[in-house]
Symmetry: C2
Subunit: 427 residues, 2 copies
């Protein structure tokens, strides 16, 4: 099933989509030359939004947590992509350790870990799961459904390497460590200064990473891509600005927040006027380092952002694992105009290395089109992409599944390229 | 549909299949280290035979001609693999020229060229088809079915590069040339000494290549692999011997042929005794350089090989494009014990670079199990593999589709490794 785009594509976006579909050779060639210069992170998922006049990424997750939501038909594509990534990063790897998030009660997340484990096993790796959660004291089996379970084990460290203890007293010493933990709670002492390779590197975690930096790189990439497609970069790039030294509880920085929101809303309105868009502009205020949809607020005027009640203030000031927010990204809100059975649908594209391996729609029945879909508890129904994102069909229209997914794959890869530039600077 | 194996797997082959399925990590790791040292050819198809007591390659084609027979569900896998191969071999490539075989009347072959073109286009390349057939004087459209056609164009050459003429007088200058012509008729003057890259290189063609050399390398690879699996290399390796300076018409070398056949039959019988196999040994006599099943003969005794009638003598002495046979490979015949609806089924595995992308069964209703299935005219029904060859399932038995296909993929990759070694020596 592919969502219905409620509004028609504006002629500009249609032109862009048409360009993307009809110039896949130029685009693939451009990507090839980009990937020669920039190394893609190990994996990522990119949240996209399609407003009918704009198609942009809104979030790039470097520790993707929804492998279980992908179409199982494309598992071979993922396995092949992982094989290529492993060959590039650590061809000698034999045993790998996955370090998952600590919230072991979330069945959806555990299913993701199960799928990731299966994919890595099928790529020919011996895989075990070790937690940095200090409450895991012995190997713990957790059922993920009637027929499957995963075992999460405590991690041991000696000198500069991690290992797991086997039942017979011997040791499982991983060649590489695959992080599926975004380090929102800080970098655990245990994984600091390791001799083993950590994939992706620790600096991809939120203690170092900033959304503002990602979108700065994305903005550059979008500009370069727009030169190629001869289109307005705004069509694929959400405007955004960073603000720091904020304190939502004490009100520190409120004046700068108001200024920034007003400026952005004004810029968006100007663009809306240029393209005859009658919808109301809005902005999204996000923690600059963090995830899981906490600390995300949608506002249509600056007053909404400062007249917060106590509950909202608390929501904005705390993200995952109790970290407080003092830095935000104010970003142009992208109306979600894709709907499946009247429910808002947000595409999420998955990549391994620079390969698009699939995606799914986050379908949310109880939310409006300008609200954040990735909310706490993740009450959404995933609808896997039916076809791959690899096969544009130039004989068919833009809203053809294969073509829309191809366009999504292109925009997602632009985000991956931005992430590649972002991480290489930090290293 | 997966064929029924008419005889049960012998315990040795079952052990080997079980080993392959249950040690996929060791095997994939082994392959990863091999591919670090050896560069796989651009593409290949490997004909396998499964006799229930032996699973071996019988032919490795470096100019595969059956892309149209693969499961279309796995097209994305092929596109991704091609993208990786292109990135490795010629990341700057934009335009490629496919040089097909000259027999433009074979609809099956033309469908293959159409599919190959589509895959390359979907990998982001501009693709055109240029023939070395001197009878092609202008761009020629050939229908391959009701909705599709391909255009085969004459190739022009200036200095050391090939190009096609565009209608407007401009030129299509390919960055790379993809050969899908095994050069059985010799290397055309036009493609000699080119500045453009030819993929695979000309020395992969039959003027230079020898089956005996391939199987010598395969034999080495099989031995190394058998050390890993702790099994008898004979289980995956057909015995073979090369003979040269033969003339089937004049009878030159008949004595040596008799000797060789008798020796091989004796060796096979010894192995059959060792494994309590009651079937009759046989050998296959093939042109050492050539293809398309011409010049292939199956014999159960040396007398069969020398008491040929005129027609048979002619068949043995001439292969494709009128080349005569003076060098043969005498190879252990592998009984085909896989059957689909009572018809003999021979698996063919397809690879791009070192990635197994799928395969199909050549199902032949009118032939016996010890005859050559790849006969002139190709009167076979292709049955595409239903699942990929990438996902062994250790919880399920060997004859489970995923597991049998995985085992096929492993043996096919051993052949690809042999081909990699074979080509690197010639370069």
């Amino acid at each position: 099933m592919i969502p219905i785009l409620k509004t028609d594509l504006s002629s500009e976006l249609l032109d862009l989509e048409n360009y993307i579909i009809n110039h896949s050779c130029d685009i693939e060639h451009w990507f090839r030359t980009q990937w020669l210069e920039h190394t893609a992170p190990f994996y990522a998922s990119v949240d996209l939004r399609n407003s009918g006049f704009k198609l942009t990424p809104v979030d790039t997750n470097l520790f993707p947590g929804g492998f279980n939501n992908l179409n199982p038909d494309f598992a071979p594509l993922t396995i092949q992509a992982i094989s290529v990534a492993i060959e590039k990063i650590c061809p000698d790897a034999w045993r790998v350790l996955i370090i998952p998030e600590n919230h072991t009660r979330n069945k959806f997340y555990l299913k993701n870990i199960f799928e990731l484990t299966e994919i890595l096993k099928n790529s020919g790796l011996e895989v075990r799961i070790g937690s940095v959660d200090t409450s895991i004291l012995e190997p713990t089996n957790i059922d993920i459904d009637e027929n499957h379970f995963i075992t999460i084990e405590p991690i041991d460290k000696r000198e500069d390497f991690l290992f797991l203890k086997n039942k017979d007293g011997s040791e499982f010493i991983p060649c590489s460590i695959i992080l599926n933990n975004d380090l929102s709670g800080g970098v655990p002492e245990k994984i600091k200064n390791l001799g083993q390779q950590i994939i992706p590197p620790i600096n991809a975690g939120w203690p170092t990473r900033r959304k503002s930096s990602h979108f700065q790189y994305y903005s550059q990439v979008a500009k370069e891509f727009s030169l190629l497609t001869n289109s307005d970069p705004w069509l694929i790039n959400p405007l955004s600005e960073k603000l720091d030294n904020l304190n939502f509880s004490s009100g520190e920085g409120e004046d700068r927040l108001v200024e920034t929101i007003d400026r952005l809303l004004h810029q968006i309105q100007k663009k809306y006027n240029e393209y005859n868009i009658s919808q109301d502009p809005y902005v999204v205020i996000k923690a600059n380092a963090g995830t899981y949809g906490m600390g995300v607020m949608t506002v249509k005027s600056s007053s909404e952002a400062i007249n917060l009640n106590r509950k909202m203030k608390k929501k904005m000031s705390v993200i995952k694992e109790g970290m407080s927010v003092s830095e935000v990204l104010v970003q142009e809100g992208i109306h979600t105009e894709e709907k499946i059975n009247e429910a808002v649908a947000e595409p999420v594209v998955y990549m391994i290395d620079h390969f698009v391996i699939g995606g799914f729609y986050r379908v949310h029945t109880s939310k409006g089109k300008d609200e954040n879909l990735n909310s706490p508890g993740m009450h959404f129904a995933p609808v896997a992409f039916e076809t791959s994102c690899l096969m544009p069909d130039q004989g068919r229209p833009c809203h053809d599944k294969a073509n829309r997914f191809y366009a999504y794959g292109v925009i997602a890869r632009l985000s991956m390229l931005a992430a590649a530039k972002e991480l290489s600077v930090k290293e």
